[in-house]
Amino acid sequence: MNILVCISKAPDTTSKIAFTNGNTQFDENGVQYIVNPYDEWYALVRALELKEAQGGNVTIITVGTASDDAVIRKALAIGADDAIRIDAPATDAYFVAMQIAEYAKGKGFDLILTGKETIDYNGSQVAGMIAEALELPYISIATKLDVAGSTISCEREIVGGMQEVEVQAPAVISCAKGMAEQRIPNMRGIMAARTKPLNVVAPAALEALTTFSTYSMPAAKSSVKLIDPNNLDELVALLHNEAKVI
């Protein structure tokens, strides 16, 4: 089974979020980049588990510049066999998805996996876009994934519950918590990752469909109003009269 796992870099979850250049760019100063947790913990680790059980190959792919190679090596250290970097800045979800679809076309991947969203732009767009571009079935926000022959079984989130579904490979699946557990790369994996193939591919000629024109920060919270634990009637009155939420 050949699995393509789409990964993205993302700022570490504890990063200070700030903007620069007249609030038009994310301020990368001091920001530590990691593999987007959904891509790493769920999509990549589940792909490796399937490969370990059934054989095959796990390729990771990202759209980015040479500065992303450290993040790619980390994903290789966790156990992916090889990596593709489409050599272009990731301008928007459409651009990224279409570059990946262009690359994947005709290469015979049985499964294309992504995380359910990135923790920076949170759009949950890339997997659906790849599926449409390649005319493949798409199971979004799957919390379980199994493969038997060409049948892919998933558990997916639906509005207000869960559903067990099946599709025939090839398919695109976005992966969420429940599918696998985080793996910490060991020294052997880190050493091996240095020599695994990282192929840099020229981008296809494509335009982004969207741009972020500017960013802003939420208004600072006024300080907390403390309520006497013996006077909950006061809290209920405040929620009704002042906050107007009940």
């Binding site: 998805a97 979004s140 639906i158 099946e166 403390l226 634990p229």
Partner: protein
Amino acid sequence: MNLVYINSANGLSKAALETVTYAKKLGADVAVVTNGNAAAELLATLGAYGASTVLQDAGVDGQDPSQLVKLVAAAAAKVGASTIIFSHDLIGKAVAPRLSVRLKAGLVAGAVALPEADGSTKVNVFSGKAFGFVKVNSAVRIISLLPNSIQPEQTGGNCSTEAFDSQAGSSAITIKATKKPEGAIPLPEAELVVSAGRGLKGPENWGMVEDLAAALGAATACSRPVADIGWRPHHEHVGQTGVAIRPNLYIAAGISGAIQHLAGVNGSKVIVVINTDAEAPFFKAADYGIVGDAFEVLPRFTAAVQRFRAAQH
């Protein structure tokens, strides 16, 4: 023309009414496209929210995004849609990106407000820690609206419903089983949420969380550790790796407020924190705080809400 996709197979959700209201506020006439076999009388009620026409394809059950994308694309062509609106719920997240590629139309994913004067639309970025303003470079734009971002609004009006055969083909997805707790309020749609963490000490103590939720008419939620150790089901886990919510009121008992938890709830309009530790970081993000033991505060809170509700009637 603005086109709204809604799933009406299980009735009209609040999220559906929000999207129709949003489309109406954008200015142009509003057409709705829907799957499923909801009664015509039910769909006609969308007129009050601003829809002028509803296209209904009863042959599509709404389970497969590759069918739904064909349904919405066919409707967009029929009505000449310049803006297409989805809810940024589990269906919208699956279908809107497919439609973006199919129509080569830019997608604003997770809008939290109407577009600005310069045409950009506000979305949450960095897991709710900041906002971004997205501009679409294509002639047709798609917007998926984060639930609870605007309130449904009835402006009066009538709409017609017509059967619509979108030629969406057959579903590629086979449904083996569906698990849906009866009567529970879906967390992303809930206006009021009561949540608890490890401070509750064990699953057997959740009765007091459920009591407060029942008194308020709220949904229940939990922190990540509580879902991880199996005290509560995973779909109740709110936070960076769980569900992101933006209710009007979020009540957190026995949750310290780690940055990853805040990422899932910082869109809440009002936050109430109950914690024994006055230094818990969550108090910095809270509007109202109670330094006290959840085991004592929650039952008192429930009683106070019941007194308030009784006095209202």
